[in-house]
Every structure is written in C-alpha cells, then in structure tokens.
Symmetry: C2
Subunit: 340 residues, 2 copies
C-alpha cells in the first residue's frame, strides 16, 4: 500500500511541509514516485517515520535521528544520558530565570509605582548582585540599603564628589584632606558591610569590574585608585612601628609606584582560586611568580632584612590586610604556588 504525502501526513499528524523537509534533508525519502512526480511512501517508509517521531519526542535533533537510524554515531545509552544532562541544564537555567522574574514581580508589587528608569536600574543592580554575591549576601545588602535609606546614597555621591575634587586639584594622597576622606570612605563602607570582610572584597571586585555600576554611582577607576592610595598612605604609620624612617620612605616611594598594580593581581589570583585552578598548574605558577616580583618591588622582600621586618609586621598587624582584597585563603594559595 503506497501513501501520498497528504495521506501520510494525516496518519502521523505531521504537516505535508514537514515531510517535504524530511525529504529535502534526506531523513525520509519516499521509496517511489508516481509518474506525475507524487511522493509515494511504502510500509517501510511509514515504519521509519514512526521511529523518527518517537525519537523526536525524546528531544533529539533531526540530524541525530538520521545518524541513529543509520546505525552510525555513538550508542544510544550515551546519547540518552547526554540528552538528560542537556535537559537538566535547560531546566536549571529556566528555574533561575523564573526566580529572577518572580523576585522582580514581588518588588514591583511593593514599590510605589516606579518609573521605567528606576525599574531598569533596579534590574541592573539585581543581575549584578546575582553575579558577584551569594543569595544570602544579596538579601543582606538589600535589607541594609533599605534601612540606610536614600540619604546613604546621597552621602556616597557627596563623598565621591569631594574625592574627585581633590583629584582634579591634584592634591596628593598623603595630604590630610585625602586621609580624612579615606577615613570617611572606610566608615561609610562599614555602615553597609558591618565588618564582613568577604562581602567587602566582593563589593570591591564588583565596583572594579562593572562599568555600569561605575557610571551609575560615579565611583570609577580614578576614584578607586585615589582612595586606595590614600588608604595605603594611612598604613605607613603602622609600618613605621617595624621599619626605621629611611626604610619607611623607601616603602612610600615603592607604594606610590606599585600599589596600583596589586588589585589587578589580587583579582587574577582570586579568579584562579575560584575557578578551582590547582596551585601547581602553570598558570597558577605564573601568578605566583608575578606575586613574588611585585612583593619584591613593593616591599623590598628580596632583601632579607626588609623581608624579615615585613613578615613581622604583617603577622602582628592584621589591619594591614584590611581593604586589600587579600585574605588568609588567598595568601595560602599564593604560598602553595611557590612551594612547588
């Protein structure tokens, strides 16, 4: 019994166009044509089509189905496992998306009629939080921001403007004004992070890597660099407890030149850690070498005397690592790269 396309289409619930397509791509070629060129499908064709449909309902692509029916290609169990894995990925993605949308929906319901612009800004912030913070941290931040109110943002803007003014006026970072601002900067930050060093590091990373955020709150690379320079200067009195005056002057000079290179390196190391890179991996080794070189240049750790005093200082003064993005885990990682 030979079927024409329309008949086969009716029998299988497909469209005529789909059957044409299968013919085009060679997935199901009718075994015969009538004199007038009509496609004629025999029983074997029909059987093949049923199988095609069955495999299609499992989510396989037409090309894959073709391979499977040709007996070539990888074995079925593997394909199925692969298919399941792909589906799991899809499902997870969809669930994440769904959660995002729902959160947004809730906030839309509570907020007092936000404008489109507000709304989009909130949205951007949300996706950024999601990228850099854990769910918990994002929740904490949102709550604290709500508690602090709009005045807090205004304070930041004022502070940032004053920093920028100092930069424009070329006031050096070790000036009293700069020191005072850096002081305020730290206390403002603490109002948000409440001493949570991990949160602080992540926010710092976010601020450094998200131009969208930078243009939103005006805290760009220049401001960040200036403030961290000032903070660095603020650390010099602490070093003075361990080094003599000449050495402190050397350190100051080194800091001026090399401190701006640290955040980049610290960020690179942290990314390496987070991506699970092994300390003996060549890339990690390279980072370790960079770290050592920069240490030498900044703290003169290539000179045994200086190195000893430096180690002593760092060990005795945990505050020296504050606001640097460096924590115990990161230091351990770096040490591990160098012990290989």
């Amino acid at each position: 019994m030979l079927l024409k396309v329309g008949e086969l289409a009716k029998r299988t619930g497909l469209t005529v166009r789909a059957l044409h397509h299968y013919d085009d791509i060679g997935l199901l070629t009718p075994s015969a044509r009538s004199d007038s060129g009509y496609r004629l499908y025999n029983g074997d064709d029909v059987t093949r089509l049923y199988r095609i449909q069955a495999l299609q309902r499992l989510g396989f692509a037409l090309a894959e189905i073709g391979d499977m029916l040709a007996g070539s290609g990888p074995a079925l169990p593997g394909l199925i496992a692969q298919q399941i894995a792909a589906l799991d990925g899809q499902i997870e993605q969809a669930l994440v998306l769904r959660a995002r949308l729902q959160q947004l929906q809730r906030r839309l319901a509570t907020d007092t009629e936000p404008t489109l612009a507000d709304w989009l800004t909130a949205l951007e912030l949300m996706t950024m939080y999601e990228k850099y913070l854990t769910q918990q941290q994002a929740d904490i931040l949102r709550q604290r921001k709500a508690e602090l109110g709009e005045q807090y943002d205004a304070d930041w803007r004022a502070l940032t403007d004053r920093v920028r003014a100092l930069i424009d006026a070329k006031v050096p970072a070790q000036s009293a004004e700069a020191q005072a601002l850096a002081q305020q900067w730290t206390s403002h930050t603490q109002r948000l992070v409440h001493g949570d060093e991990d949160l602080l590091i992540k926010l710092d990373t976010m601020q450094r890597h998200e131009p969208a955020l930078q243009s939103h709150n005006g805290i760009d690379a220049a401001v960040i660099d200036y403030v961290s320079q000032a903070m660095t200067e603020a650390r010099l009195p602490i070093y003075a407890k361990y080094f003599d005056a000449d050495e402190v002057e050397r350190l100051r000079g080194n800091f001026r030149r090399h401190m701006p290179e640290w955040p980049t390196l610290v960020g690179a190391v942290r990314r390496a850690m987070d991506s699970g890179l092994a300390p003996d991996h060549p890339e990690a080794q390279a980072l370790g070498a960079r770290w050592q070189a920069l240490s030498h240049a900044t703290f003169c750790t290539d000179e045994p005397a200086m190195r000893g005093k430096f180690m002593q200082a760092v060990k005795s003064e945990p505050d020296l690592l504050l606001n640097t993005g460096i924590d115990r885990a990161l230091l351990d990682f770096v040490i591990a790269t160098q012990s290989h």
Copy 2:
C-alpha cells in the same frame, strides 16, 4: 567620552558582532560615526545597552526589548507574568521529557541487550501509552503485559489472522465462527484489562487512532469493524427479550447499516467532553443532533413504541453498553446537549 565598538564590547562582555546586529535591527544605533565610519557610542548609548542586557537576562526577545525601551507595547507587569507563564510551560515540558528519557534509561539497563528495532518499538509504545493513558494505567498495562508474557502477543496475532481469514472468505459476522471469534476476542481483551471499562475504552480509542499500532499488531480498521459487527450480532439475542421477532429483524438490518458509524461519533463526543466543551455550545449541540439522528436510524427511536422498548432494554441490560465505548458520563453529556 565616545567608545568604539570594540571598547564597548569589552566593557559589556558582548561581541562586536552582537553590537553590529543591534545596530542592524535598530535596537542600539550609535549616536555618532567617526569620519572613517567607525561607530561611536556615547554615555546614553551605553546606558541603553546596559538596560538591554538586563532585560535580555530576563529572557525577553530583542524585539520585545526594543518595544519596552521605546515605551510602547504593553506594561511591564503583564509582560513579566507572561514571561513566567511561558517559562513554566518550558519547565514542565522539559520535566516530562526528562521523565521519559529516564524511564527509557531504566528499561535499557534492565532489558537484555535489545536490538535497535526492539528498542524503537518499545519507545513508540511508550509514547503512545503516554498520549492515551494516565501514568497509573500505563504502569498497570506494562505490568500485566510482562506477566502475560510473549505468548499473549502470539495469541493475539493468531486470533487476528483468523479474523482476517473470515473477512477474506466473506463469512458474515452473524455466523457461528465469527461469533466464536468475537467471544474469544472479548476474553483475550479481559485478560489484559480485568474488567476495567475505562481502560478498555482508552485502548480501543488508541487502537482506532494509531495507524502505527495497527500496522504493528495487524489490528486495523477492517478487523475492528468486523469484530464489532460480530459483537453487535451477539447483542441481538439480548434485544430479543424486549422486541418481537419482526422488530429484531429490523434492528439487525439497521445495525448492519449504521453500527459502523457509531465509533466515530462516540469518539467525537468523547473528545468534546475531554476538551471541556459546554453542552450548550453549538458544536456540542451539533453532536447531540447527530447522536439523535443516528439513534433514530439504528434503533428506530423516532417511533414511540420502539423507543420505549429500547429504553427499557438499555436500562435493564447494562451489558448492552459493553465494548461500545459508551459510559454513563458520556450518555449524561449527550442528554445535556439535548435538554438545551
């Protein structure tokens, strides 16, 4: 500050090609071009791009994003709800697919190295079960089939072959041979369904509507029709308890002509019921009218005397509805269409 494509791309994590694409479709047109034709993006462009990205991360299509940013189109809350609904659909679909694949995986693990052909046959059956039966029913069926073993399938094939032989030999359905086969047919069916009328109806529907199944087990429309004719004939003795001999002969003649039309109508009514059609909907009304006309033609229910006897018979003999695909709910639906 004006950015070139590459710079903007780096800042946003997009590719240059994507930005070209946004320009092509008018989603993000750079506010300026350099003399040499380079795209130049200003701050507003960058802001717009951040918003585009934020909305994209929510799963909106570029065209939708364009509409949203243009302020036209429907309001955001509605769009979000819609988006969530769409996602829910996707997730559900993916979960169903996943379940299918896992079931298959389990069976692949237990079965003794099936050939590709066996495997695909099982797959077809599985998807068919899924389409017509509830999960429970499918499980029950699978278990019973496993208990009955291969002999059961062989019995069916033998029975079907004998039916086909009668058809080819043009042996009438009221013959003793046909009656005997119909008898066996029923008992064979019962070995599988164990008196579950709902399951029986669904299997019947499946067998009638799935050419794949028909060509698989050889039970096609001709066989079904012949067997149901024989079953119909088998019912005549029951009617004889309520009608006199002449009337029974009239019924026999009517049955011969009109009984084959019933399954189609019953199927149509059931689909209408299942799709939640209201009995006073025009389409339901039309079905009711068809039902009445076919009743008149088959059972002479337009003649008051015949109608009375018929109602009496149906009420007293529930067996008359056996194997017809008609149950109480369906009758109620039909009656409801006619009371409007």
